[in-house]
C-alpha cells in the first residue's frame, strides 16, 4: 500500500503551524509553480492527474478549471467549500484542524492557475476550532509572503478571506453557498444559467472546489501527475458508525468496502456482523453485506444504484433497525429542506410521518407502496439535489430490507435486539 500523501503528518503536535509545514517541504510546490510553470501548465497537470472533485459530485477538477472563462479584465473568484455537512463526512474538518496549510497552499496554486486574485473559504459555522486554526494559519501565510501582494516576489497577488457559515446544510450546495456568501438566505439558484464556473459569485466566473480537492493540488504539482497517481490515486474515506477504529482513512480510490471496513477501520464490535453500509454519506443508497466486495469508487457504486459521494462510509451492524435509521435520515432532510420547492418540503414530511407510524406499530400494509410512490414522485422533481438525496436510500432500504418493514407493520414491534430504535 502506498504511503499516505494528504494525511501523512496528521496528528503530529503543532502540525497546524507554518514552521512544521515548511519543515516537511510545505509551500515548495507553490514556489515551483510560480517560478517554473505557466498557469495553463498547472491546469494541464491537474487534468492529467485525473483528480475528481471531493465535494460529492466527483466532477473532474482540471475540466472545471478549463470551463471557467478567462477573459482579460474580468474579475474571477475562487471559492472553497469547507461547509462539510453531509452526514458521516469529516475529512475536510480533519484537514482544516490538523493540516490547514495544505489547503491554503492548494488555494494559492489554484488561484494562480486560474488567474484569480480574490478567494473565499466558506467555513462551516460550527467549526469553531477549525476557524481558530485556519485563521491563525492564514495569518502566518500572509506574514511569510505566501498569500497577499506579490507572492514570493512573483508579481502574483491573492487575497484570501474566511467566511463563516451559520448553520444550514443546504449552504454546502454550491449555488446556495454563493447566495449565502452574498449575504442572503441560502436558497439554491437555477442551473442553467447559474453554473458557478460561468456565473458564480457576484455573477462572475468562479472556480468552486471542495476543501479536500484543494489539499490534493500541492501534491500533484510537487510530484507530477504520474507519480501522484501512483499513490492510488489517494482519497480520504471517512469511516464511522459501528466500527472499532473509525476515522479518516487515506487509501487508493477503489479499495473494496470490505478492506476499508475490516482492515482499516477495525471491523464491527466483537460478536457483531455488518448488516448494511452507506458508502457515500447518508445521501447514497444503502447497501448490504452482500455488496462488501465492491470497490469504493465512482463507477462501481453507481452500478449498484448508489454512489461514492463524499466517500463517507457509515457502517451499521446487526443490532440496527433499518427503518429507524432511514427515518433518521429522512428527518434530517426534512429539517434541512430550505422549503423552496414542494416535492422536497412536503415529500420529506409525508415520508417521516409514515415512517413514524410504522415504527410506532401503527403501520398499514399499503404503507410500503406509499413510501415508494412518494419517493418516486420526488425523483427528478426537486429544485436542487437536496430533495433528490432522499429517494435513493429509502427505496434501496425497501428493496433490501422489505421484510424488516413488513415485520414492523405486522407485529407492531421491532425484532432487532440491542440497537437504538425509538
Amino acid at each position: 500500500m502506498p504511503e499516505p500523501l494528504l494525511t501523512r503528518y496528521l496528528g503530529q503536535p503543532g502540525r497546524e503551524e507554518i514552521d512544521a509545514y515548511l519543515a516537511t517541504g510545505g509551500y515548495r510546490a507553490l514556489a515551483r509553480a510560480l517560478r517554473e510553470r505557466t498557469p495553463d501548465e498547472i491546469v494541464a497537470m491537474v487534468e492529467a492527474s485525473g483528480l475528481r472533485g471531493r465535494g460529492g459530485a466527483g466532477f473532474p477538477t482540471g475540466r472545471k478549471w478549463k470551463l471557467t472563462p478567462k477573459r482579460d479584465g474580468e474579475t474571477r473568484y475562487l471559492v472553497v467549500n469547507a461547509d462539510e455537512g453531509e452526514p458521516g463526512t469529516f475529512k475536510d474538518r480533519t484537514l482544516i484542524e490538523g493540516d490547514p496549510h495544505q489547503i491554503i497552499e492548494g488555494m494559492v496554486i489554484t488561484a494562480y492557475a486560474n488567474q484569480v486574485h480574490q478567494a473565499y473559504i466558506y467555513l462551516r459555522g460550527e467549526f469553531f476550532l477549525g476557524h481558530r486554526r485556519l485563521s491563525r494559519a492564514l495569518a502566518e501565510a500572509y506574514a511569510r509572503g505566501y498569500v497577499g501582494r506579490n507572492i514570493l516576489g512573483s508579481g502574483f497577488d491573492l487575497e484570501i478571506v474566511i467566511h463563516r457559515g451559520a448553520g444550514a446544510y443546504i449552504c454546502g450546495e454550491e449555488t446556495a453557498l454563493l447566495e449565502s456568501l452574498e449575504g442572503r438566505r441560502g436558497f439554491p439558484r437555477l442551473k442553467p444559467p447559474y453554473y458557478p464556473a460561468v456565473r458564480g459569485l457576484y455573477d462572475r466566473p468562479t472556480v468552486l472546489n471542495n476543501a479536500e480537492t484543494m489539499a490534493h493540488i500541492p501534491h500533484i504539482v510537487a510530484l507530477g501527475p504520474e507519480a501522484y497517481k501512483s499513490y492510488g490515486p489517494p482519497i480520504l474515506y471517512s469511516v464511522s458508525g459501528h466500527v472499532t477504529r473509525p476515522g479518516v482513512k487515506e487509501l487508493p480510490i477503489g479499495t473494496p468496502l470490505r478492506e476499508i471496513i475490516f482492515e482499516h477501520a477495525g471491523g464491527p464490535r466483537a460478536g457483531r456482523s455488518v448488516k448494511a453500509v452507506f458508502p457515500g454519506g447518508s445521501s447514497s443508497a444503502i447497501l448490504t453485506a452482500e455488496h462488501l466486495d465492491t470497490p469504493a469508487d465512482f463507477e462501481s457504486l453507481q452500478k449498484l444504484g448508489s454512489m461514492l459521494g463524499s466517500s463517507a462510509i457509515i457502517v451499521l451492524d446487526d443490532t440496527t433497525c433499518i427503518p429507524a435509521v432511514i427515518r433518521r435520515t429522512v428527518e434530517f432532510y426534512r429539517d434541512e429542506s430550505c422549503g423552496k420547492c414542494t416535492p422536497c418540503r412536503e415529500g420529506t414530511v409525508w415520508l417521516s410521518q409514515i415512517l413514524d407510524r410504522i415504527l410506532c406499530g401503527r403501520g398499514r400494509r399499503e404503507d410500503l407502496d406509499l413510501l415508494d410512490s412518494i419517493a418516486r414522485n420526488m425523483t427528478g422533481t426537486c429544485f436542487c439535489p437536496l430533495g433528490e438525496s432522499v429517494p435513493p436510500s429509502l427505496r434501496a432500504s425497501l428493496r433490501y430490507f422489505r421484510d424488516e418493514y413488513a415485520h414492523h407493520i405486522e407485529a407492531g414491534a421491532c425484532d432487532v435486539a440491542g440497537g437504538p430504535h425509538r
Binding site: P87, F90, L138, I160, S240, P246, I314, F332
Partner: protein, 172 residues
Amino acid sequence: MARVLSQAVLAEIERARARYPRPQSAVLPALHAAQEEVGYLSPEALDDVAEALGLPVTEVASVATFYSMFFTEPVGRHKIRVCTNLSCYLNGCEEILDHLCRTLGVRPGETTADGRVLVEVAECLAACEEAPVLLADEDRHGHMTPAKVDALLRALDREPSATSPTGPAGDA
C-alpha cells in the same frame, strides 16, 4: 446612532465590509459579531447591523432567521448542541441527550429557567469518529457518556460565560 452594538463591534463590521466587493456579503460576519456581543439578535441589534451595512432591516432579519446558529429570541448563556445524526445515533446519542435534558429539566430547544444553558439537537458535526459528539459553546466533546455530561455541566458552572470570541472572520 447605534443602539446596542459597541464601537468595537461596529469597527469589526466595518472591517468585514471591506473584505467584500458588496456590503451585503458582510451580513453573516456582522450578525456573528452582533450575537457574540448581545447574546442574541435583538431587534435593536438587527437595526444596528442593517444601519452599519446600509441595508433594509427586513432584509437583515430575513437572513438572520434562515440560519440555525442565529437566535432572534433570548437564549441560554451557554449553548450545548448534541449531534443526533446517523453515526451518533448508532453510538447512543439518545442516552446523552436524555441525560442532559433530564439533568437540566429542559426539552431539546429549551433554555433552563435561570437562563444559563440552552440545549439543542445538532446535525452531523463532522466529527463522527468521536461519536457520540456534542458542542458545548465553542468546544467539541467526543465519546460522550452520561458521566462526562455531568462533568461538563459542573465545569460550565465554574465558567461564567461562553468561551471568548475567536476574532473576526478571515482575520489576516
